[in-house]
Symmetry: C2
Subunit: 180 residues, 2 copies
DNA sequence: TTGTCACATGTTATTCTATTGCAAACAATG
DNA sequence: CATTGTTTGCAATAGAATAACATGTGACAA
Protein backbone atom coordinates (compact mmCIF):
# COMPACT_ATOMS: atom_id res chain seq x y z
CA UNK A 1 0.00 0.00 0.00
CA UNK A 2 1.34 3.38 -0.98
CA UNK A 3 1.64 6.20 1.48
CA UNK A 4 -1.66 8.05 1.27
CA UNK A 5 -0.42 11.11 3.13
CA UNK A 6 0.83 13.67 0.65
CA UNK A 7 1.63 16.46 3.11
CA UNK A 8 1.61 15.47 6.79
CA UNK A 9 1.32 17.93 9.65
CA UNK A 10 4.66 19.53 10.32
CA UNK A 11 6.74 18.01 13.06
CA UNK A 12 9.27 19.73 15.30
CA UNK A 13 12.00 18.43 13.08
CA UNK A 14 10.55 20.08 9.99
CA UNK A 15 13.28 21.81 8.02
CA UNK A 16 11.27 24.48 6.35
CA UNK A 17 13.95 26.02 4.18
CA UNK A 18 14.68 22.59 2.78
CA UNK A 19 10.96 21.90 2.34
CA UNK A 20 10.54 24.98 0.18
CA UNK A 21 13.55 24.36 -2.01
CA UNK A 22 12.49 20.74 -2.50
CA UNK A 23 9.02 21.79 -3.55
CA UNK A 24 10.44 24.33 -5.98
CA UNK A 25 12.78 21.76 -7.45
CA UNK A 26 9.87 19.36 -8.03
CA UNK A 27 7.94 22.16 -9.67
CA UNK A 28 10.81 23.10 -11.96
CA UNK A 29 11.28 19.52 -12.96
CA UNK A 30 7.62 18.86 -13.62
CA UNK A 31 7.17 22.01 -15.69
CA UNK A 32 10.28 21.28 -17.71
CA UNK A 33 9.07 17.78 -18.46
CA UNK A 34 5.63 19.04 -19.49
CA UNK A 35 6.85 22.03 -21.44
CA UNK A 36 4.99 24.36 -19.10
CA UNK A 37 6.52 27.79 -18.60
CA UNK A 38 7.26 28.41 -14.96
CA UNK A 39 7.92 32.12 -15.42
CA UNK A 40 9.42 34.46 -12.83
CA UNK A 41 6.03 35.56 -11.51
CA UNK A 42 4.61 32.06 -11.37
CA UNK A 43 7.71 30.71 -9.69
CA UNK A 44 7.67 33.50 -7.16
CA UNK A 45 3.98 33.02 -6.32
CA UNK A 46 4.54 29.31 -5.78
CA UNK A 47 7.50 30.12 -3.56
CA UNK A 48 5.43 32.57 -1.51
CA UNK A 49 2.76 29.91 -1.04
CA UNK A 50 5.23 27.26 0.06
CA UNK A 51 7.02 29.68 2.35
CA UNK A 52 3.85 30.08 4.37
CA UNK A 53 3.15 26.36 4.39
CA UNK A 54 -0.52 26.97 5.16
CA UNK A 55 -3.53 28.15 3.16
CA UNK A 56 -2.79 31.59 1.71
CA UNK A 57 -5.31 34.10 0.38
CA UNK A 58 -4.94 35.54 -3.09
CA UNK A 59 -4.81 39.12 -1.86
CA UNK A 60 -2.19 38.25 0.76
CA UNK A 61 -0.04 36.96 -2.06
CA UNK A 62 -0.77 40.11 -4.01
CA UNK A 63 0.40 42.31 -1.13
CA UNK A 64 3.61 40.33 -0.83
CA UNK A 65 4.22 40.32 -4.55
CA UNK A 66 3.67 44.06 -4.79
CA UNK A 67 6.57 44.70 -2.44
CA UNK A 68 8.96 43.42 -5.04
CA UNK A 69 6.97 43.81 -8.21
CA UNK A 70 5.32 47.19 -8.69
CA UNK A 71 2.37 46.91 -11.03
CA UNK A 72 1.20 43.58 -9.70
CA UNK A 73 -2.60 43.57 -9.74
CA UNK A 74 -5.33 41.02 -9.02
CA UNK A 75 -5.06 39.45 -12.49
CA UNK A 76 -1.34 38.97 -11.95
CA UNK A 77 -2.02 36.74 -8.97
CA UNK A 78 -5.07 34.96 -10.32
CA UNK A 79 -3.33 34.09 -13.56
CA UNK A 80 -0.41 32.66 -11.66
CA UNK A 81 -2.77 30.72 -9.40
CA UNK A 82 -4.68 29.38 -12.41
CA UNK A 83 -1.45 28.18 -13.95
CA UNK A 84 -0.26 26.53 -10.75
CA UNK A 85 -3.64 24.86 -10.25
CA UNK A 86 -3.67 23.59 -13.82
CA UNK A 87 -0.18 22.15 -13.39
CA UNK A 88 -1.19 20.46 -10.15
CA UNK A 89 1.37 22.43 -8.16
CA UNK A 90 -1.15 23.89 -5.71
CA UNK A 91 -4.62 23.11 -4.41
CA UNK A 92 -7.47 25.46 -3.70
CA UNK A 93 -9.21 25.13 -0.33
CA UNK A 94 -12.83 26.01 -1.15
CA UNK A 95 -14.00 26.55 2.40
CA UNK A 96 -11.27 29.13 3.01
CA UNK A 97 -10.92 30.79 -0.41
CA UNK A 98 -7.26 30.00 -0.08
CA UNK A 99 -4.46 28.15 -1.81
CA UNK A 100 -1.85 25.71 -0.59
CA UNK A 101 1.15 23.96 -2.09
CA UNK A 102 0.69 20.41 -3.31
CA UNK A 103 3.04 17.96 -1.68
CA UNK A 104 3.04 15.57 -4.61
CA UNK A 105 2.79 17.24 -8.01
CA UNK A 106 4.06 14.08 -9.74
CA UNK A 107 0.55 13.02 -10.71
CA UNK A 108 -2.78 14.87 -10.78
CA UNK A 109 -5.00 14.05 -7.82
CA UNK A 110 -7.96 15.36 -5.92
CA UNK A 111 -6.64 15.45 -2.39
CA UNK A 112 -8.43 15.44 0.92
CA UNK A 113 -7.53 18.11 3.41
CA UNK A 114 -7.34 18.13 7.19
CA UNK A 115 -7.60 21.76 8.30
CA UNK A 116 -6.76 22.77 11.86
CA UNK A 117 -9.11 25.50 13.02
CA UNK A 118 -6.73 26.53 15.80
CA UNK A 119 -3.44 26.97 13.96
CA UNK A 120 -4.47 26.81 10.27
CA UNK A 121 -2.12 23.92 9.59
CA UNK A 122 -3.27 21.67 6.75
CA UNK A 123 -2.38 18.07 6.02
CA UNK A 124 -3.09 16.67 2.58
CA UNK A 125 -4.17 13.10 2.00
CA UNK A 126 -4.71 11.32 -1.28
CA UNK A 127 -6.57 8.33 0.02
CA UNK A 128 -7.91 5.72 -2.38
CA UNK A 129 -10.32 4.32 0.19
CA UNK A 130 -12.02 7.68 0.57
CA UNK A 131 -12.04 8.39 -3.14
CA UNK A 132 -13.44 4.96 -3.93
CA UNK A 133 -16.09 4.97 -1.22
CA UNK A 134 -17.41 8.32 -2.43
CA UNK A 135 -17.41 7.13 -6.02
CA UNK A 136 -19.26 4.01 -4.92
CA UNK A 137 -21.88 5.88 -2.92
CA UNK A 138 -22.37 8.27 -5.80
CA UNK A 139 -22.75 5.39 -8.23
CA UNK A 140 -25.57 4.01 -6.08
CA UNK A 141 -27.43 7.19 -7.00
CA UNK A 142 -26.56 6.77 -10.66
CA UNK A 143 -24.14 9.67 -10.39
CA UNK A 144 -20.91 9.87 -12.38
CA UNK A 145 -18.09 11.55 -10.43
CA UNK A 146 -15.72 14.02 -12.07
CA UNK A 147 -14.36 15.84 -9.06
CA UNK A 148 -14.41 15.60 -5.27
CA UNK A 149 -13.98 18.43 -2.79
CA UNK A 150 -13.18 17.02 0.64
CA UNK A 151 -12.22 19.38 3.43
CA UNK A 152 -12.19 18.24 7.03
CA UNK A 153 -12.09 20.85 9.77
CA UNK A 154 -11.03 20.11 13.29
CA UNK A 155 -8.00 20.13 15.57
CA UNK A 156 -4.56 18.88 14.59
CA UNK A 157 -2.51 16.62 16.87
CA UNK A 158 -0.22 19.43 17.98
CA UNK A 159 -3.07 21.69 19.00
CA UNK A 160 -4.88 18.86 20.78
CA UNK A 161 -1.86 18.61 23.05
CA UNK A 162 -2.37 22.22 24.12
CA UNK A 163 -5.04 22.91 26.79
CA UNK A 164 -8.12 24.30 25.14
CA UNK A 165 -8.27 27.89 26.40
CA UNK A 166 -4.56 28.48 25.94
CA UNK A 167 -3.66 31.19 23.50
CA UNK A 168 -0.19 31.29 22.11
CA UNK A 169 -0.05 35.07 22.13
CA UNK A 170 0.85 35.83 18.55
CA UNK A 171 -2.06 34.85 16.35
CA UNK A 172 -0.22 35.84 13.18
CA UNK A 173 2.48 33.23 13.47
CA UNK A 174 2.71 30.42 10.97
CA UNK A 175 1.53 26.94 11.99
CA UNK A 176 5.00 25.74 12.79
CA UNK A 177 5.52 28.66 15.14
CA UNK A 178 2.41 27.86 17.13
CA UNK A 179 1.90 24.13 16.74
CA UNK A 180 4.39 21.80 18.34
CA UNK B 1 -30.12 0.62 7.98
CA UNK B 2 -31.64 4.07 7.72
CA UNK B 3 -32.10 5.84 4.41
CA UNK B 4 -28.92 7.81 3.89
CA UNK B 5 -30.32 9.92 1.08
CA UNK B 6 -31.70 13.14 2.48
CA UNK B 7 -32.64 14.82 -0.79
CA UNK B 8 -32.56 12.56 -3.86
CA UNK B 9 -32.40 13.83 -7.41
CA UNK B 10 -35.83 14.92 -8.50
CA UNK B 11 -37.86 12.41 -10.45
CA UNK B 12 -40.51 13.04 -13.07
CA UNK B 13 -43.16 12.50 -10.45
CA UNK B 14 -41.77 15.23 -8.23
CA UNK B 15 -44.58 17.44 -6.94
CA UNK B 16 -42.70 20.64 -6.41
CA UNK B 17 -45.45 22.72 -4.86
CA UNK B 18 -46.00 20.01 -2.30
CA UNK B 19 -42.25 19.69 -1.76
CA UNK B 20 -41.97 23.38 -0.86
CA UNK B 21 -44.92 23.44 1.51
CA UNK B 22 -43.66 20.30 3.21
CA UNK B 23 -40.24 21.83 3.73
CA UNK B 24 -41.80 25.00 5.11
CA UNK B 25 -43.97 23.02 7.49
CA UNK B 26 -40.94 21.14 8.79
CA UNK B 27 -39.13 24.43 9.27
CA UNK B 28 -42.04 26.00 11.16
CA UNK B 29 -42.30 22.99 13.39
CA UNK B 30 -38.60 22.79 14.13
CA UNK B 31 -38.30 26.49 14.92
CA UNK B 32 -41.35 26.38 17.16
CA UNK B 33 -39.94 23.45 19.08
CA UNK B 34 -36.57 25.15 19.49
CA UNK B 35 -37.92 28.60 20.29
CA UNK B 36 -36.19 30.01 17.21
CA UNK B 37 -37.89 32.96 15.56
CA UNK B 38 -38.73 32.19 11.95
CA UNK B 39 -39.58 35.78 11.08
CA UNK B 40 -41.25 36.95 7.88
CA UNK B 41 -37.95 37.68 6.14
CA UNK B 42 -36.33 34.43 7.22
CA UNK B 43 -39.37 32.42 6.24
CA UNK B 44 -39.51 34.11 2.86
CA UNK B 45 -35.82 33.53 2.13
CA UNK B 46 -36.18 29.86 2.99
CA UNK B 47 -39.19 29.66 0.71
CA UNK B 48 -37.29 31.30 -2.14
CA UNK B 49 -34.48 28.80 -1.70
CA UNK B 50 -36.81 25.82 -1.71
CA UNK B 51 -38.75 27.15 -4.67
CA UNK B 52 -35.62 26.94 -6.77
CA UNK B 53 -34.71 23.48 -5.48
CA UNK B 54 -31.10 23.96 -6.52
CA UNK B 55 -28.16 25.94 -5.17
CA UNK B 56 -29.06 29.63 -5.03
CA UNK B 57 -26.69 32.58 -4.76
CA UNK B 58 -27.11 35.16 -2.04
CA UNK B 59 -27.46 38.05 -4.47
CA UNK B 60 -30.04 36.17 -6.52
CA UNK B 61 -32.08 35.88 -3.38
CA UNK B 62 -31.50 39.55 -2.71
CA UNK B 63 -32.82 40.50 -6.13
CA UNK B 64 -35.91 38.40 -5.60
CA UNK B 65 -36.48 39.69 -2.11
CA UNK B 66 -36.13 43.29 -3.22
CA UNK B 67 -39.10 42.92 -5.57
CA UNK B 68 -41.38 42.52 -2.60
CA UNK B 69 -39.39 44.11 0.16
CA UNK B 70 -37.93 47.50 -0.65
CA UNK B 71 -34.95 48.24 1.55
CA UNK B 72 -33.60 44.72 1.45
CA UNK B 73 -29.81 44.93 1.39
CA UNK B 74 -26.96 42.41 1.52
CA UNK B 75 -27.07 42.16 5.32
CA UNK B 76 -30.77 41.34 5.11
CA UNK B 77 -30.00 38.25 3.10
CA UNK B 78 -26.84 37.22 4.88
CA UNK B 79 -28.51 37.49 8.28
CA UNK B 80 -31.37 35.33 7.12
CA UNK B 81 -28.93 32.82 5.64
CA UNK B 82 -26.91 32.76 8.86
CA UNK B 83 -30.05 32.04 10.83
CA UNK B 84 -31.17 29.30 8.47
CA UNK B 85 -27.71 27.72 8.49
CA UNK B 86 -27.58 27.84 12.29
CA UNK B 87 -30.98 26.17 12.51
CA UNK B 88 -29.92 23.49 10.06
CA UNK B 89 -32.61 24.47 7.57
CA UNK B 90 -30.20 25.07 4.70
CA UNK B 91 -26.70 24.05 3.69
CA UNK B 92 -23.99 26.11 2.10
CA UNK B 93 -22.26 24.68 -0.97
CA UNK B 94 -18.72 25.96 -0.61
CA UNK B 95 -17.61 25.23 -4.14
CA UNK B 96 -20.47 27.29 -5.58
CA UNK B 97 -20.88 30.05 -2.98
CA UNK B 98 -24.51 29.02 -2.91
CA UNK B 99 -27.19 27.80 -0.57
CA UNK B 100 -29.65 24.94 -0.75
CA UNK B 101 -32.55 23.73 1.37
CA UNK B 102 -31.87 20.87 3.77
CA UNK B 103 -34.10 17.88 3.19
CA UNK B 104 -33.96 16.71 6.79
CA UNK B 105 -33.78 19.50 9.34
CA UNK B 106 -34.89 17.14 12.12
CA UNK B 107 -31.35 16.66 13.34
CA UNK B 108 -28.11 18.57 12.67
CA UNK B 109 -25.88 16.85 10.16
CA UNK B 110 -22.99 17.52 7.83
CA UNK B 111 -24.34 16.30 4.54
CA UNK B 112 -22.55 15.14 1.41
CA UNK B 113 -23.58 16.69 -1.86
CA UNK B 114 -23.77 15.33 -5.38
CA UNK B 115 -23.69 18.31 -7.72
CA UNK B 116 -24.58 17.92 -11.39
CA UNK B 117 -22.37 20.15 -13.50
CA UNK B 118 -24.80 19.98 -16.43
CA UNK B 119 -28.12 20.89 -14.82
CA UNK B 120 -27.10 22.14 -11.34
CA UNK B 121 -29.28 19.58 -9.60
CA UNK B 122 -28.01 18.59 -6.18
CA UNK B 123 -28.72 15.46 -4.17
CA UNK B 124 -27.94 15.44 -0.47
CA UNK B 125 -26.68 12.37 1.34
CA UNK B 126 -26.06 11.92 5.04
CA UNK B 127 -24.05 8.76 4.88
CA UNK B 128 -22.59 7.27 8.03
CA UNK B 129 -20.09 5.16 6.12
CA UNK B 130 -18.57 8.23 4.53
CA UNK B 131 -18.61 10.24 7.72
CA UNK B 132 -17.06 7.40 9.69
CA UNK B 133 -14.39 6.57 7.13
CA UNK B 134 -13.27 10.19 7.02
CA UNK B 135 -13.24 10.40 10.80
CA UNK B 136 -11.23 7.19 10.91
CA UNK B 137 -8.69 8.35 8.34
CA UNK B 138 -8.36 11.66 10.15
CA UNK B 139 -7.87 9.87 13.47
CA UNK B 140 -4.95 7.97 11.95
CA UNK B 141 -3.27 11.37 11.64
CA UNK B 142 -4.18 12.26 15.21
CA UNK B 143 -6.75 14.73 13.90
CA UNK B 144 -10.01 15.45 15.69
CA UNK B 145 -12.88 16.16 13.28
CA UNK B 146 -15.39 18.91 13.92
CA UNK B 147 -16.78 19.44 10.46
CA UNK B 148 -16.66 17.86 7.02
CA UNK B 149 -17.21 19.58 3.69
CA UNK B 150 -17.90 16.97 1.02
CA UNK B 151 -18.96 18.10 -2.42
CA UNK B 152 -18.93 15.72 -5.35
CA UNK B 153 -19.16 17.15 -8.85
CA UNK B 154 -20.18 15.13 -11.85
CA UNK B 155 -23.18 14.18 -13.92
CA UNK B 156 -26.55 13.19 -12.48
CA UNK B 157 -28.47 10.15 -13.75
CA UNK B 158 -30.92 12.24 -15.75
CA UNK B 159 -28.19 14.12 -17.58
CA UNK B 160 -26.24 10.93 -18.24
CA UNK B 161 -29.25 9.72 -20.21
CA UNK B 162 -28.96 12.70 -22.52
CA UNK B 163 -26.34 12.53 -25.33
CA UNK B 164 -23.35 14.60 -24.35
CA UNK B 165 -23.48 17.48 -26.83
CA UNK B 166 -27.20 17.96 -26.52
CA UNK B 167 -28.32 21.29 -25.19
CA UNK B 168 -31.80 21.62 -23.86
CA UNK B 169 -32.22 25.13 -25.22
CA UNK B 170 -33.08 27.12 -22.14
CA UNK B 171 -30.10 27.19 -19.79
CA UNK B 172 -31.98 29.20 -17.20
CA UNK B 173 -34.52 26.53 -16.40
CA UNK B 174 -34.55 24.80 -13.05
CA UNK B 175 -33.12 21.29 -12.77
CA UNK B 176 -36.51 19.66 -12.99
CA UNK B 177 -37.23 21.48 -16.21
CA UNK B 178 -34.12 20.13 -17.87
CA UNK B 179 -33.32 16.88 -16.10
CA UNK B 180 -35.69 13.98 -16.51
C1' DT C 1 18.04 39.84 -39.16
C1' DT C 2 13.42 40.40 -39.32
C1' DG C 3 8.72 38.92 -39.15
C1' DT C 4 5.35 36.36 -37.09
C1' DC C 5 2.86 33.86 -33.79
C1' DA C 6 1.63 32.27 -29.33
C1' DC C 7 1.85 33.20 -24.92
C1' DA C 8 2.50 36.15 -20.86
C1' DT C 9 1.92 40.41 -18.56
C1' DG C 10 0.19 45.37 -17.72
C1' DT C 11 -3.70 48.21 -16.86
C1' DT C 12 -8.18 49.80 -15.75
C1' DA C 13 -12.51 48.82 -14.55
C1' DT C 14 -16.10 46.06 -12.93
C1' DT C 15 -18.64 42.21 -10.89
C1' DC C 16 -19.66 39.19 -7.30
C1' DT C 17 -19.50 37.85 -2.36
C1' DA C 18 -19.64 39.15 2.33
C1' DT C 19 -19.00 42.00 6.60
C1' DT C 20 -18.87 46.12 9.86
C1' DG C 21 -20.98 49.55 12.62
C1' DC C 22 -24.53 52.07 14.23
C1' DA C 23 -29.36 53.49 14.59
C1' DA C 24 -34.19 52.38 14.76
C1' DA C 25 -37.94 49.11 15.42
C1' DC C 26 -39.89 45.34 17.67
C1' DA C 27 -41.12 41.54 20.80
C1' DA C 28 -41.08 39.23 25.20
C1' DT C 29 -40.74 39.72 30.06
C1' DG C 30 -41.22 41.44 34.66
C1' DC D 1 -44.94 50.75 31.39
C1' DA D 2 -40.07 49.96 31.45
C1' DT D 3 -36.43 47.07 30.38
C1' DT D 4 -33.84 43.94 27.78
C1' DG D 5 -32.48 41.29 23.96
C1' DT D 6 -33.25 40.46 19.27
C1' DT D 7 -34.23 41.84 14.64
C1' DT D 8 -34.12 44.99 10.94
C1' DG D 9 -32.70 49.37 8.28
C1' DC D 10 -29.10 51.63 6.28
C1' DA D 11 -24.59 53.23 4.55
C1' DA D 12 -20.21 52.10 3.80
C1' DT D 13 -16.56 49.06 2.98
C1' DA D 14 -13.86 44.84 2.61
C1' DG D 15 -12.63 40.78 0.16
C1' DA D 16 -12.56 37.59 -3.97
C1' DA D 17 -12.50 37.14 -8.78
C1' DT D 18 -13.07 38.32 -13.67
C1' DA D 19 -13.50 41.11 -18.17
C1' DA D 20 -11.55 43.50 -21.81
C1' DC D 21 -8.04 45.31 -24.23
C1' DA D 22 -3.26 46.95 -24.74
C1' DT D 23 1.56 45.85 -24.54
C1' DG D 24 5.58 43.05 -24.12
C1' DT D 25 8.44 38.91 -24.89
C1' DG D 26 10.48 34.68 -26.46
C1' DA D 27 10.84 30.98 -29.89
C1' DC D 28 10.93 29.79 -34.39
C1' DA D 29 10.86 30.19 -39.37
C1' DA D 30 11.66 32.85 -43.46
Amino acid sequence: MTDQIVTPFRSESHNHKRCVTDAMALAEERCARRGARLTRIRRRVLELIWSRHEPVKAYDLLDQLREEHRGAAPPTIYRALDFLLAEGLIHRIESLNAYIGCGDPSHPHLGQFLICERCNAVAEMDDDDIRDLLAHKAALQGFHVNWQTIEINGVCPSCRAIPNGTVSGNETDTPADRCR
